[in-house]
């Protein structure tokens, strides 16, 4: 696959499993970064990008990295996610952006055999993803939960204080960044939304009035503090990984 530039780099043979694991994690991180970047360049909304990442993570839950080309899977995931989330993208655009990602500053592809081959591989990979996931490709994302939680929490705050504190943006950014890792598919969407909101509020030191129950407990009854902490630490880990991977 000509597009592959970097996926196989740094793969030593016979390394320790842990090393391999972290290597895989790094790869996945990079590919997810690739997906999110492509999403920005394709002007995708948050939901389709989230779907694409979720598809990718779910795919590689059961698949091995050496067997499948991760970047191709990523491209196909983007293509499929656009269809699922009703923001239809054209394969030509995806190929153009990805081609430029690997070869920055180069000329756009010509309409020749190579282009059609690329397109064919994307389409075939899309079908592969579908089959691998048993055609269950619609996800419930934490986005709408987060937005509703934000509304409710904002209702408790003084409107001016709320306007000053960018909890909304931070929470949204945190949620989008969480898709770099498999945390997005390993937890319930409500929990992820809640954790993200908790982290955002915590960062700014915003305090909500205390009642019989904690606000986050109210918003989602089956979440525990431990779980929130676990998710928060996973999110933090993702940020740390950024320094190591890119």
């Amino acid at each position: 696959m000509e597009l592959v530039g970097r996926s196989h780099e740094g793969r030593g043979s016979g390394d320790v499993a842990k090393h391999e694991l972290s290597q895989d994690i790094k790869t996945h991180f990079r590919v997810c970064r690739f997906i999110i970047e492509t999403g920005v360049k394709l002007r995708m909304r948050s939901m389709p990008v989230a779907t694409a990442c979720a598809l990718y993570h779910k795919f590689f839950e059961s698949a091995d990295l050496p067997a499948y080309e991760p970047y191709l899977v990523a491209m196909a995931a983007i293509y499929l996610a656009g269809k699922v989330e009703e923001q239809h993208l054209r394969a030509r655009d995806i190929i153009n952006v990805c081609h430029r990602y690997f070869k920055p500053g180069c000329e756009p592809l010509e309409l020749d055999g190579k282009f059609w081959e690329l397109r064919d591989s994307v389409v075939h990979c899309e079908l592969l993803i579908l089959r691998k996931l048993n055609f269950q490709v619609s996800f419930i994302h934490p986005h709408k939960y987060l937005l509703h939680y934000l509304l409710s929490v904002r209702g408790l705050l003084n409107r001016h204080a709320c306007a000053r504190t960018p909890i909304t943006e931070t929470a949204w950014a945190l949620l989008k960044d969480s898709y770099h890792g498999p945390v997005c598919v390993r937890h319930r969407p409500q929990h992820l939304a809640l954790s993200v909101l908790y982290l955002a509020m915590n960062s700014y030191g915003v305090e909500l009035p205390a009642g019989e129950a904690e606000w986050w407990q109210v918003l989602c009854e089956d979440v525990t503090k431990a779980e929130i902490d676990a998710i928060v630490s996973e999110l933090m880990e993702l940020y740390n990984m950024e320094a190591r991977c890119t």
């Binding site: 970064r33 756009p108 606000w215």
Partner: protein, 725 residues
């Protein structure tokens, strides 16, 4: 960095955060400047619960989290919720679920309620100074349920809008009514709220709220939802709300919360907006790619074009334009192809479109100039001179140095100027003969009626030619009497006797119709100026037509046409077209047409192609024995003045020709022949004349001009004698 935010965060987290911040943000100049400030306000305690990870995160991302640009720029305005539609799930206030203690809720309420908020309550008592309302909940943006807080608000009487029907506005209200009002004033310390029923008390965004008495259905959703199921969990209520299942609720809420997706906020270093280059975006790449793909198609198209395969070339160009609409090269190439094929209008459209996209395209400009000039030429032939002028000017604005455009424009402008001048002259003269026109018209009517009668008689008799010729002779003679001078002038002209005769006949025709000695400037001008100015005659005829002749002349023309065919003077009543298909004299008509044409040719010897075109048209029509067309075209000419003159000439010539033919077909034959010989320059003409001469009856033709003149004089005499009768 936002100092207040930092302070808030620090006060929450304590010293540990501060120290972390200092270590992480050591390079950040913003932080360093306010670090000193902050150190004073940091509490010396640690944050509740192990939040070291969070602190680490905050410290690392402080420059992003606390940057002023991170805040949402739009301060979200509270808007009235439309209770009918629920784009997202409206939830009861969170404090309700959290079971915040009363006092705290009260404090919160007083902290948060502001002037301009909408509040809903129930009237508890009505006094003479106003009424008291027990607050139930807030409406609009601030969602609080305060029913159990037992708060009261006062609505003073002045805040109650007066209803006309009642003397006392308060009598409209009763205890127990649900009231929606706007908060006018809040006194936090004394816990007094003043409300108002005037819309002015609300903020502008809430302008649509209805204040006053409301019904239970109007209660806000967050209240009714909260009140009905107090045992339900937040989650259950959320998931059972209709708005929650709305697929687009995310987009709606993003707008409501003020998050801009296009900014793609992220806390990852690599995903910051500044790292994305504009040219890496999909649409920009696509544009470039489409342009290059289209260019390939254009190239193959040009190859086809050069090889002569126009169809394939057009296909390639269209393909290129499908790939990339408004591709400049494709448009220019297609325009060139259209121009070559002759569809000049389409070519012009393509060039203009190309120039819109790329105003400095050299080829497009060049081709456009050329095509405009060509099109101008076409329009000139069609007599649309003003449009043609516009096109030439346009071509010149595009390219100042374009020789052809300048020449064509100058020529055209001269042409138009002459037209205008002559028209002015006509106007002036028209004023003079205004009086005479009417009287002449009356006279003419009488004459024509007589003629009609005579014609009918003649028709029955087979020898129509003689009588008509006699009538013609009379007319011509009478005219001749009045225009001897002009005849002389005409004689001087070397062109042809035909011309003079035509002049005579036309003159005579006119003079019969109008006794004015001066008659129309046409004859006066045509004799001399006719030779020099090619369009003078056209002008004159056109002028005549347009002015006085419009009424009478129109009919004159018609009548002339009729006369031509009827071998008699025209009848006003007759429709020229009816006359045309006169079966009795098809041959004559043909001859006449040929004559007309011929004379027309002779008249405008110096004229260029337009005349030729006209003549060709004329000849073709006559040849095809489409008399009707011919006469119609001549009679009701829709051409510009050139063609009008043409028709004019034809009319007069027709008159003359018919006279000639009536009088002596041989003569006409001869004249035709001589004309044909004389004007070898006009090939078509000569061909046609020859054709006519061949097609027509072959008789011996007198070659003596003087003979013809004498005959004309004879006719005129006879005519005048007849008239006298």
């Amino acid at each position: 960095m936002d100092r207040d935010l930092l302070r808030q965060s620090l006060s929450y987290h304590g010293q540990s955060l501060f120290s972390l911040l200092r270590s992480e943000q050591i390079e950040n100049p913003d932080f360093n400047s306010i670090a000193a400030d902050l150190s004073k306000s940091v509490p010396q305690r640690d944050a509740p619960g192990g939040t070291s990870i969070v602190e680490q995160f905050v410290a690392r991302k402080a420059d992003l989290l606390f940057s002023p640009s991170w805040k949402s720029t739009s301060i979200v305005q509270y808007e009235l919720q439309e209770e009918t539609s629920e784009p997202y799930a409206v939830m009861p206030p969170l404090e309700q679920f959290m079971e915040v203690p009363e006092q705290e809720r009260k404090d919160l309420f007083y902290r948060d309620v502001e002037r301009g908020d909408v509040i809903i309550g129930r009237i508890t008592s009505i006094r003479e100074f106003g009424f008291f309302v027990a607050l139930i909940c807030t409406g609009g943006g601030l969602e609080r349920d305060v029913e159990d807080l037992e708060l009261t608000a006062l609505c003073p009487i002045r805040e109650v809008p007066s209803t006309r029907s009642h003397d006392d506005p308060l009598s409209y209200y009763q205890i127990g009514d649900l009231i929606r009002a706007g908060v006018k004033d809040v006194d936090r310390y004394q816990e007094k709220i003043t409300i108002s029923l005037h819309l002015s008390s609300l903020c502008p965004s809430m302008g649509k709220t209805k204040l006053g008495v409301i019904s239970k259905e109007d209660l806000p959703l967050h209240y009714s939802r909260g009140a009905s199921d107090c045992c339900e969990s937040y989650e259950k209520i959320l998931e059972s709300s209709l708005g929650f299942s709305n697929p687009t609720n995310v987009d709606v809420l993003l707008v409501k919360l003020g998050i801009d997706e296009t900014l793609s906020p992220s806390l990852m270093r690599g995903l910051q907006k500044k790292h994305f280059l504009e040219e890496d975006f999909a649409d920009n790449i696509r544009k470039k790619q489409s342009a290059s793909w289209a260019l390939k198609c254009v190239k193959t198209g040009v190859d086809h074009f050069k090889a002569g395969r126009h169809v394939e070339a057009m296909n390639e160009y269209n393909k290129a334009l499908e790939i990339d609409t408004n591709n400049v090269e494709a448009l220019v190439a297609r325009g060139a192809l259209y121009a070559t094929k002759g569809s000049l209008v389409k070519a012009i459209d393509d060039f203009e479109l190309a120039l819109e996209t790329c105003p400095s395209h050299r080829n497009a400009k060049k081709y456009l100039c050329q095509t405009l000039v060509e099109r101008g030429g076409q329009l000139e032939e069609e007599k649309k001179l003003v449009t043609a002028e516009g096109l030439y000017k346009k071509a010149l604005t595009l390219d100042d140095s374009f020789r052809e455009a300048e020449d064509a424009l100058r020529k055209l402008q001269m042409h138009i100027q002459k037209t205008l001048k002559l028209r002015e002259q006509e106007m002036a003269k028209e004023q003079e003969k205004a009086k005479t026109v009417e009287t002449s018209a009356e006279k003419l009517r009488k004459i024509l009626k007589e003629e009609k009668r005579m014609k009918r008689k003649r028709r029955r008799s087979s020898s129509s030619s003689s009588s008509s010729s006699s009538s013609d002779a009379t007319s011509s003679s009478s005219s001749r009497q009045k225009s001897k001078k002009k005849k002389h002038k005409r004689r001087h002209s070397s062109h042809s006797h035909k011309k003079r005769q035509r002049r005579v006949s036309s003159h005579g025709y006119r003079s019969d119709e109008e006794d004015a000695e001066e008659s129309y400037p046409a004859p006066a001008n045509t004799s001399a100026s006719f030779i020099n100015q090619k369009h003078a005659v056209a002008q004159l005829f056109e002028d005549e037509r347009s002015q006085g002749m419009s009424k009478s002349s129109g009919s004159f023309c018609a009548s002339s046409a009729a006369e031509v065919l009827e071998d008699s003077r025209g009848r006003f009543e007759d429709d020229p077209f009816e006359c045309s298909p006169c079966p009795a004299e098809p041959g004559k008509a043909k001859d006449r047409h040929g004559d007309k044409e011929r004379v027309a040719h002779s008249d405008h010897r110096k004229s260029d192609t337009p005349h030729m075109v006209c003549k060709k048209r004329v000849s073709s029509t006559s040849e095809s024995s489409a008399h009707r067309r011919y006469s119609s075209s001549s009679a009701g000419s829709e051409y510009s003045h050139k063609s009008e003159t043409q028709s004019r000439d034809i009319h007069s010539q027709g008159m003359s020709s018919h006279r000639w033919s009536d009088a002596d077909k041989k003569e006409s034959r001869d004249s035709r022949r001589s004309e044909g010989n004389g004007h070898r320059s006009c090939n078509d003409y000569s061909q046609k004349s020859r054709r006519f001469s061949e097609g027509g009856q072959k008789k011996e033709l007198p070659s003596n001009l003087v003979d013809i003149f004498s005959q004309i004089a004879q006719f005129e005499k006879e005519k005048s004698t007849k008239q006298k009768k």
